[in-house]
Symmetry: C2
Subunit: 153 residues, 2 copies
């Protein structure tokens, strides 16, 4: 649906022009109806997680009053970064329409190849991982398992 990606493009442009963040926009749609739109707000909100797709998912879940967006599709001006792609997975969204590729986005300075390297566990990583209080944390998982009224999701 060309109309929908152009709404994402307009969002991206507005956000960029207002210095809210990078040139990225997203739209979430259900049965052809727009549920949420967003643009990158990392700079204006000072929140490193405020990517267009994350904000669109948060708004769509608030609009639909459910965390399961498996009947939705996302239109995003660029291929999602690993954070946003994983968020799309957790939301259950099954179809991603995107314009520019990871490589094209990297060429203007938004490079997530390092994050992919860290996600793959490749060394050397800039991030230090250290375990702590393993037993006390394992106890939490057991409490969840034994919780009679737990809601799986």
């Amino acid at each position: 649906m060309f109309r929908l990606i152009h709404i994402a493009i307009d969002e991206a442009r507005r956000g960029m022009q207002n210095n809210h963040g990078g040139p990225f926009g997203a739209v979430i749609v259900k049965d052809g109806e727009i549920i949420a739109t967003a643009h990158n707000e990392v700079l204006s909100s000072k929140d490193p997680t405020a990517h267009a797709e994350i904000l669109a998912i948060r708004r769509a879940s608030q609009e639909l009053k459910q965390f399961d967006l498996s009947d939705c599709e996302i239109y995003t001006t660029s291929q999602p970064c690993p954070m946003c792609l994983a968020a799309i997975c957790w939301a259950g969204i099954k179809r991603i329409h995107y314009g520019t590729t990871t490589e094209e986005v990297a060429s203007i300075g938004f490079n997530d190849s390092n994050i992919y390297r860290i996600l793959k566990g490749e060394q050397p990583s800039e991030i230090e991982f250290m375990t702590i209080e393993r037993e006390a944390c394992q106890e939490l998982l057991k409490e969840w398992e034994n919780k009679p009224d737990k809601q799986m999701y």
Copy 2:
């Protein structure tokens, strides 16, 4: 710092007991001082991105009024999922202290192995990726490149 992981554990337990979400908590620290705490709120907020680490990052960035948390460390009761790990990367956090592993978390039903598979581009994927309006989206990236007052981040 055992005190800090136990604050994350207490957060996780409180969230679980109040049915806010799974048994996960996180604390963000700067120079030994607690900047933000959070527990998983996927169920209560109906937001699929409301993992403990994401909420802690959002709160810490609001508290410090900056998206760069590179002078912070995170204590989290479980190894971060790919969404949260990528968010930690974007935030610039360099040290992760965690209790239970990805495998232990998967054993109580929170399995992110499928997400890792999708992030690696392994087939078959449940998610359909489709390109659309590539040129119009490439134009956005060019506009960003040519924007005289852009702030890189």
